[in-house]
Each structure stands twice: as C-alpha cells, then as structure tokens.
Symmetry: C2
Subunit: 495 residues, 2 copies
C-alpha cells in the first residue's frame, strides 16, 4: 500500500491533533501549524490518549513513530508533505482562504483533505489553482480510534484522487467511504442532524430526560449499529422476503405525523439550560477526561470483540482492524534475521479495561492471552504467517504451564521475553516471561509446547524447510542461555 | 426481586416468541396463544436462537427452564399469569379488542404489557375494566438479547404498575426505561423514524447506496452509541465547558437547511426497487438466518466487552448484563450442600464466535477462560461470593497447567468437571476437565493452584471458617477419587 511519507496538519485541535496522532503512530513524519497558544498542550493530551488507546487496541507491530513538530508558518508545515489535512474552524471564508494558502505552498501533487463536517468541497476549492487534489475527508471523534473518513469530492476533484486517498487512509488504519455526490453535511452528519433535532424536541417537550434518551439508544439500536447499519438490520426484520417485504410493511408508517418534521426546534436559553442541567445530573459526576478514557476503553473492547466476530474472520470495524493489523505485520521490518543469544522481546501491549476483573487486577486468562500473542509473534518471526497457515501448515499448542507472580493493573505497559528450549523443530518448547515495563517487574512465566501439524492430514509433520531453518538458528543461538529455574516445573511443586 | 411466576404471550411471532424465550430461560412457565398455523415452528426457531445466544452470553447459572406451551384460546393462556405480553399486529382496533379480551380473562392484578412500537397506551386501554395495570413495554429486536423495554403508561396506568414492571423485567435480564409522557412511537422509534426518513432521501437522491450508508453508521457513531448515547457523547465534544458550550457552538447549525425537513419522502415503487436491489448487492450473499447468527454473535461479543468495561465494573448494556448475572448467582439453588464423592460439574457454556481463531478452532486462552469461569463457580459454591470478596478476602491463582487434547468449535456446548486434590484449604488444588457435551469428548485438562489472601493485608491467610468448612467437606469427599493421570505433570513430560 502507498504509505503517506510526510503529513501536515493545518489546525491542531481535537480533530486536527487526532489526525496528527494517527499519522505519527503509523510512522509518518508530521508537521502541525496552529497559531493557537494552547495548541502544543492540547496536542500532547490528544497524543497521550491516542497512544494509550493504540497500546490497548492492538499488539500488532506498530512502526517506529514518525516525528511530530510544530511549524512557525503554514508554508513551512506543508512543504514536502504528500497529505495535508485542514482542520480549522467551520467557517467557509476562513477555510477557503486557508485552503488557497495550502494549495499555493504545497507540492501540486500533494493530497489536500478538509475535515469539514458540513461545507461543500466545491465551495472550499474555489480559490485553488490545483483543486483536482482537494476533497473532504470527514472523520469522527475520537479520530484516533474511529476508522471512518467520508471522502467527498467537489466539482473539480478527480475520482483518481479519491481512490488514492482511500488507499492511503488504509495505511493509517482508516477506511475512506467515497460519497457519490456532494451535499452539505454529507451522509453521516445529515443522519445525525435529523436525529439530533428529534432528540431536542423530546427533551423540550419533557417526554424524557437526556439520561433516559441516551439509555434508550445504547440499550437497543446503538448496540445493533456498532455492527450492522440501518438497512442490513431492517433487511432481517423483513424475514425471508428481505427488503421488499420490510418496505411494504413499514413504508406506510412514513405518512404518520410522528416526527416533528415541519418545525425547527429553537435552541433558546430555556432549552439550553434544561439540557445542561439534565446532562450534569446524568454525567456530571465524571470529568470529561474520565469520560474520554471510559469511551476509548469501551471502543477498544468493542472493536476487539468485532475483530473476533464472524468466526475469527472479523466483522465491521473489527474486520477493518484485522486488515490494518495484517498490513502492520506485512510492513514490519523482519527482525531477528540474525538470531542472537539473547531472549527475544516479543510483545508490547498496554492492559485495557476489558482485561481487568472486579478486584482491579488483570484477569487470569489475559496472562495466557499475552503469552499466546507473543507466541504468534514468534511464529510470524520464523515464517509461520497467514500464507503458511493457508497452505495447510500450522503449529498448535499442546500444553502450557503458567505462574502468576505479581499483578498487572489497568494501563500497565507490558512486554514478553522468550527463550527457546532445546527441541526438534517439529515441537517448539519455549519459556516466556511477562514483565511490567515501568520497573521491569516479573509478573508471570509461561512454559509452552507447540506441535507442528498438517491441517489437511490432521497429523503432526515437520515444518517446511524455510521455517525449520529459521527456527533451528534460534534454538541454537539460545542453547547457550541458562535453563530457566521454573522450566519443567509442575503445579504445586516446591521450589 | 419479584420474579414473574407465570407468563402469557398473546401473539407469538418474532417479537412475542422472543418474549416467551426470555420468560422461559428465566425459569418462568409460559403459555402462548397464537392461532397462526406457523406459530409453533416459528417459536421453535426463535427459541433455538435465544438458547444459543444465552449459552454464549453468560456462564452464570440460569435457572431450570420454565415450561413452554401453546394454548387453544386466549382465555386459557392468560389464566393464572402474572405478566401478560401482547404482541399482535400493529393495528389499533385489533390490539384494543385483544387487550379487552385479555383484561376480561386475566387476574385483575396481572400486569399487561403491549409490544406496540407506536400506538398510544391511552388508546389501547380504552375498553379495559382494569386499565391501571396496562402499559406499553416496547422491546427491540432481537428481544432475547437487547435489554431495553420502553415502559409507557396511558392516562389510566398507575405509576406503581410501571415501577413494578421495571423490577420484574430485571429478573428476565431486561431494563425498563419509564417514559414520562405518552406520544406516538415513544422515544426510540421517534428517533429512528427521523433517521429513517433522512436515510431514504439519501438513497433516493443517489448520494450513496445502502452499503455505504450502513458503513458510515457502523464505522463511526454506531460504535459510539453502543456504549454512550447522544448527549453524553456530545458533552465530551463540548470539552471542559460541557453541554452549554457544545450547544452554543452547534445550536446555530440547526437553522441550516441540511435535512429534508419539510418533505416527506414517498416510498414509491421506484424507491422500493432501488433499495431492494442495493440491499441484495450488500447483504444478499448471506441468508437471513446467517445474518441473524452473525448479528447475535456480535451482540454477545459487544455486551461481554462492555461487561468488562469501566475496569471490570461494567458499562452500559454490559453493566446490565453483570447485574443480571449477579441476580442469577444470588437466586441459584446452592447445590453441593451435601458434597458427594463425584467430580463436580461446574460450568456449561456454548462456544461463541469471538472465541474462534482464524483456524476455526477455539483460541488457546479461551480454554483457560472456561477453567477460570469454572473456578469462579467453585468459589461461589464454597461461599466466596461478592460479599466475601468485598470484605477483603479472596483466592488468587498461583499457577496452572493446561493440556489441549482436542479442538472445540463454534457453538459446541462444553462442560467442566472438577476434582479437588488434597490441600490445606489455604491453598486449593484442583484438577479440571473440559468436555464437549454432545459426545463427552475430553478436550482439555487444567491443574490449578489457588491461594487464599487477605487483600487488605496483602498476604496469604486461612479462609474464614464458613468457607473452610465447606471446602474441607468437598476435599474429604473427593479424597476417595483416584488421582488424575495428568496431575503433577510438567510441560513436555513423557506420559
């Protein structure tokens, strides 16, 4: 995939800063131009959120981070960049003028995306000399986690540019959905706008309070929409007859005067006050930073659940995550081409909220998960990758022994080291150790036996020569290491 | 909590049948009246879906299932029931007449809920002699999984009845949200209606196709809304200044003519055809039953992720699930009061999709999860419950040894047996076996050492006497069992 080699973010607020975090975490050097006096502080907060979230989201090998710097001028920021993202305040005149400045200073081939949530790209690109490479790339908060960018071209944008943008976004874990025609607010915010107006009426008319409304959403269709959208969900409601049946059943309800269609609610001082008071009662016991952390942890948990969906093939946003991880594995430098006689460092991960039990500790089976992920990294390293598994070969776990020595807690950065014990290669025998990164405390050990199998023949066979070669080099290099104390230990054995 | 002792479902389609499944799985005897010739077949499909989903959703001890029967008449169905749920087609005259019949035949104190998604309870209860106990209980599809029921009273419904309904719904894993005032379509469907109209315009005007629209939802705000609703999400967008700031920023956008506010889209034949064709292209490669399975598996995964959210305390629908499980543990019969000299049967669970890896097998660490859940059941059995842990005592895992002998696959029903090996009670030493229920194949074994600790003093101490007493009885009863072959085994040891 065509990586973004240099990025520039013009405007570095909550949205622009999160774009910058995505670029940097994907290994792209990024410059920000934002004259706001608080810009650097805000960026460091967004970056911290993004890094924490990514640490929990994936144990796939993220590339070495790109550099992040603040430029003194817009011109300096965009120089040499091949993706420039504009995220300045939502005013047409301002955006037009900023985009014209970007256009004048940037490489004529550089892609220029605008984060606008409502303005039309044709209006935005009017003053540009190279408008063909300008488009809307409208993301959703938190931009560092939610994968969507709506891609909308203006009259002068070429289709090739939109396609190119889509390919490039995939390299930073996002998916570009190309919208056919430009309209104000595009698709997502049009839907949200209709929804929001109706919600305001419900509050204004005291049908319910904000907390009840939020619960109605998140206990019902909110759960559905995390994984299937409106039409796929309703297709099921139609039963075997599908969409035609559903529409013939429910189409007529459209003529009912249910929604406050023809009125525009006036968000006057009374309504603002009512909503603010109800929202304080609902959410005021937690600060914004705490809500953000909870939201991010939930999103990570949901995306990981969806990644395991459709029987391990991934579904919805979880399929996108799986594809991004496959891209990360594919583009990761193949380390350990020259095995050394040191234990391998295999995994770095931060403990997400969903790994914590009601005691505040990491749940027992999540230790096993860390070691299983580390084993996966070891297998990748010796050439047991998706293609190898597809060709009908794989290593299966036979048995393992885990000791829990100290507790991991929420947000702890962890790493795993592995030593290969003598074995014939048809079996792999490893001894792994899980450490807390902040103070190198040993938290857990894991002794593990894997067996190579032909999944077609359902029996154990030696690995293919290339894998066997890499593995033997590692086993030989580790032969000089002392045998770990706890290797060969059984449960309850006195030490 | 006040359990529902007998339930009746009048109308047993997708909605009524799923209500019946909820009742039956919560241990309530349930009668259905539905003269439709296909009613029994449909019910068995819904029940199968619900049982599969519940098996994956929770390993908490579900009560013995209630009986399910079909009645020849409405009168027979409602006799002796204390919750009657009406789910007949969405026509006011029909529902009014059915509700009047229910009213006449039912115990005057029985609660009567209507599943209507739009009709006003005041209109529905007009012909009833005891309208005070009638209300709308509007659920969401799939009713056996989504926890929400909107509770809406009519002019004659008493508040006490709504409060009672809320308490009773919690015993079947649902949460009743009481809506202040009755309006047509209540809260959820009002919001959905506004959203749906806007979506139809976007398709009609060719702004995007149904697949793009669905992806826009599920890659962005759909993920957010599975865990926080509209207002809590926007509160964060306002930053530190909260809701007032957000409203002052975005309130003015309401006056923009973005949505197709003043037009009502006509779902004419052309639009129906367009949507049907696009929906076929998007989802037609999978049948409805397959989509339902994928949806249910995703919902289970999302709810489990949310149950682990907020650092193990549960969040949103996951908190509701945790509360339901706590209720199940509390009301479960305390078995093993008289320990026998047989291995304990501790866990029954079906393998959900999120436990499956890309090989189609259950992922390694999910075996450990099964054994950890079985250990949790063992601890509950000897009195180590939430109160005990809150009082500052708990058992922590020290070490474990797992052997994987055969593969578990998606949907397999599994169970765990456990044998207690000799130990002093400060330590618990168990040997567990995981079986496939269909053919009693041994899939995995687990040897496990737990240590009792005082979490306040951070050191190991003996358990409190009541726990020690129960534990000793079990250990003594198991002393006559032969020692398991694989106990005391280390990794790689020749057998």
């Amino acid at each position: 995939m065509a990586k973004i080699s240099k990025a520039a973010c013009i405007g570095g607020g909550v949205i622009g800063g999160a774009w910058a975090a995505r670029f940097v975490l994907a290994g792209t050097d990024t410059r920000i131009f934002d004259p706001h006096p608080e810009a650097q502080r805000l960026m460091s907060e967004v970056m911290a959120n993004a890094e924490r979230a990514y640490g929990m989201l994936t144990s796939a090998p993220l590339p070495v981070k790109g550099t992040l710097s603040f430029s003194e001028s817009l011109e300096e920021a965009v120089r040499g960049a091949d993706w420039i993202q504009e995220s300045v305040p939502e005013k047409l005149d301002l955006k037009r003028s900023v985009l014209a400045q970007i256009d004048a200073a940037a490489d004529p081939k550089a892609l220029i995306g605008s984060s606008t949530s409502g303005l039309m790209p044709t209006d935005l690109q009017r003053d540009m000399r190279h408008p063909e490479r300008m488009f809307v790339a409208h993301p959703y908060n938190p931009v560092y986690l939610l994968p969507l960018a709506e891609l909308v071209g203006g009259k002068n944008t070429t289709r090739a540019v939109l396609e190119d943008a889509k390919v490039k976004l995939a390299t930073i874990g996002m998916t570009g959905m190309i919208i056919n025609k430009e309209i104000e607010a595009f698709v997502g915010d049009r839907l949200l706008e209709a929804f929001w107006r109706e919600a305001l009426w419900l509050i204004k008319d005291d049908i319910c309070d904000t907390e009840t409304l939020d619960n109605v959403i998140r206990y019902s269709f909110g759960l559905r929409w995390a994984q299937m959208g409106l039409f796929e969900t309703y297709r099921m409601a139609g039963g075997g007859a599908g969409m035609r049946d559903f529409l013939s059943k429910y189409g007529p309800s459209l003529s009912r005067p249910w929604t406050k269609l023809t009125d525009v609610v006036d968000p006057d001082a009374d309504l603002v006050e009512k909503i603010a008071v109800q929202s304080d009662a609902q959410s005021g016991q937690r600060g914004i930073r705490e809500l953000e952390r909870i939201r991010d942890q939930n999103l990570v948990g949901i995306m990981q659940a969806l990644k395991a969906g459709d029987e391990g093939r991934g579904w919805g946003a979880g399929k996108l995550l799986a594809e991004f991880e496959a891209h990360l594995w594919k583009t990761a430098p193949k380390h350990q081409a020259n095995p050394s006689n040191e234990a391998l460092k295999l995994l770095e991960v931060k403990v997400p909220a969903v790994w914590i039990d009601y005691n505040g500790h990491m749940t027992e089976y999540r230790y096993t998960q860390c070691f299983a992920d580390a084993s996966e990294a070891l297998l990748q390293m010796i050439g047991v990758d998706t293609d190898y598994v597809r060709s009908g070969h794989s290593y299966y776990t036979v048995e393992s022994h885990v000791r829990l020595l100290a507790e991991a807690r929420l947000g702890d950065a962890l790493y795993v080291t592995a030593q290969l014990l003598p074995s014939d290669g048809k079996k792999i025998h490893t001894f792994m150790s899980l450490y807390r990164a902040s103070d190198d405390t040993l938290l857990s050990t894991y002794e593990h036996l894997l067996l190579h199998v032909s999944s077609k023949e359902s029996r154990s066979v030696p690995p293919l020569p290339e894998v066997m070669g890499k593995l033997k080099l590692l086993i030989e290099a580790h032969a000089v290491l002392p045998a770990p104390d706890a290797a060969g230990r059984s449960v309850g054995q006195r030490s």
